[in-house]
């Protein structure tokens, strides 16, 4: 297993990013968020991205998840070049390959935990009973087998994030993208969530790419990468804390 940022991998990585540029236009000024970024992540890796606010962490995650398109460069996941896909193909690819975990959980408040987790499966051809089985398994994995009929408002923040994790894993995606998954939680709940994510990596072989400001969270990852001024670096960077 390996993670590299020099672009000199043999091409067998699960995630392969080459010469990635992302710039936004604000008024008459171009803002370079990511510059010539290279990244290779093998299957089963747990990578944490750290960096100051505005360093491009979430932008990188959005690009990896096919939610945004780069200004230049390419992203290839499991052999599929994401950056060359059209809108509808990209949507389909996202449903099949990406599990998102957001800082604010982003559960639909009108749906129960079960229904929230079932959402990605509605896009599949599974029957209702097969969907039920998958959802129950996912919720059991995150320790909420007894809370299936609860609405988000009836759950604690930590439990909501667990539901969000169950939703991310229920369709068995190729990799999980976590954007500050513990950012809205107290330390105890954050630790529990990180225990769960670690378990997904070590026990279920999931590949996880996680953005965080929290060094304690980043320590749980196999590799921590630092993003500063649009450039990705391995290892610790002094003052990289937000």
């Amino acid at each position: 297993m390996a993670v590299r940022v020099d672009g000199r991998n043999d091409g067998n990585s699960l995630v392969q990013v080459r010469d990635l540029d992302k710039k936004y236009r604000r008024g008459s000024e171009d803002i370079h968020v990511l510059q010539g970024l290279n990244l290779d992540v093998d299957k089963g890796e747990f990578v944490a991205f750290m960096g100051p606010s505005g360093s491009g962490k979430t932008t990188l995650l959005n690009l990896l998840g096919g939610l945004d398109l780069p200004s230049k460069g390419s992203i290839t996941v499991a052999g599929d070049e994401v950056t060359s896909m059209s809108g509808s193909k990209l949507t389909h690819w996202r449903a099949r390959h990406v599990g998102f975990i957001f800082q604010m959980y982003n559960l639909l408040p009108v749906l129960t935990a079960f229904q929230n987790v079932e959402l990605p499966l509605l896009l599949t051809k599974l029957s209702a009973s097969e969907r039920k089985q998958h959802v129950e398994t996912a919720l059991t994995v995150v320790g909420l087998g007894e809370r299936m009929k609860h609405y988000p408002r009836q759950l604690s923040g930590g439990q909501e994030q667990r539901v969000s994790i169950a939703r991310a894993i229920v369709a068995d995606p190729t990799f999980l993208l976590c954007d500050e998954p513990t950012g809205d939680l107290d330390r105890k709940s954050a630790d529990e969530i990180m225990d769960l994510i670690e378990r997904l990596v070590h026990e279920f072989g999931k590949t996880v790419l996680l953005v965080t400001h929290d060094p304690q969270v980043a320590e749980r990852a196999n590799v921590t990468l630092h993003l500063d001024k649009g450039v990705l670096r391995e290892g610790a960077v002094a003052g990289a804390r937000a």
């Binding site: 939610l67 449903a95 957001f102």
Partner: protein, 378 residues
Amino acid sequence: MKYFGLLWANLKRKKLRTILTLGSFVVALFLFALLAIVKTAFSGGLEVAGADRLVVINKTSIIQPLPLSYRDRLARLPGIKDVTFANWFGGIYQDPKYFIPQFAIDTDTYRQMFPEFRVSDEDWQAFVADRQGAIVGEKTAKKYNWKVGDRIPIKGTIYPGAWQFNIHGIYHGSKPQEDTSQFWFHWKYLEEGTGRTGTVGWYTVRVSNPDDSAAIVKAIDQMFSNSPYETKTDTEKAFAAGWVKQMGNIELLILSIGAVVFFTLLLVTGNTMAIAVRERTGELAVLKAVGFSDSFVLFLVLAESVLVAVLGGALGLLCGKLLAAGGDPTGGLLPIFYLPPRAIITGAIVTIGVGLVAGIIPAVNAMRLRVVDALRRV
């Protein structure tokens, strides 16, 4: 069907708002149904008017009589097949607020002229045999709980006196638009009772070929021109239309009210949907993030808008149908009181249309929503 739970959950999100929007559709469609009932009440006669029948009235006014002697002259006119006549009676049964259209008819020819009104041969023969006999429409019979054999007292107004009638039959219409509220009795009974001999209220003639109607209308009026009783002849349809026009342009009035109601409904629903979509921008972004397509999001918002419209519309039309089933609440002023299936279909189409149009702008906005922008706002 697997998405229905998501759709339904969204409707339950703000129950009061959904109930109020639904209520707007219920009220609007109930009003639409009511207008359709009133329109049918006024114009229903036009739809069932015989294409081959002409009505001959006194040129001055329908309340002025025509001589009975015209019957034979009309019958001799080329192109005319049958002739019958009738007279308005205008009596009161128990209370002036109960309105029953009563006609003194020529028992020899009336039934043949109006075959759409169905009455059994046996009952008709019994009616013909009794000078005080009467045939009554099923609606009126039901309303007053009259049965064959009942003796009905009616107080004359135009023709004063206490008139007694024996019911010998109940007639039925062959279509729902047909007026089954009428009360028929012998014209001879009226003639004998009043002593006014030799005059009738109006004639109805049947032409051999409806294409000749215009020429026959002209011929009839020419035949009686410059006489003390000049005539005004029209097709039955034109006669019925003229009757309706006396009340004003009912159709325009109804269309105007309906258009205003639906336009207001469109604004109300459009605004509600816009607010509903704006409130859950983040949720729609999450749906897209997990793999739901732009077109699915478009469909979801539109389906939500149409579902509210259809539920409310169906309830409104059902209320209208129930109102119509309850019968004419005016005491007889609207004898044709029913909600035609065509109006229900129109109402359903308009409802779905309003639902779609109201939802289209919010739905397109939701479809165009960029996930990255929307998530940044959460």
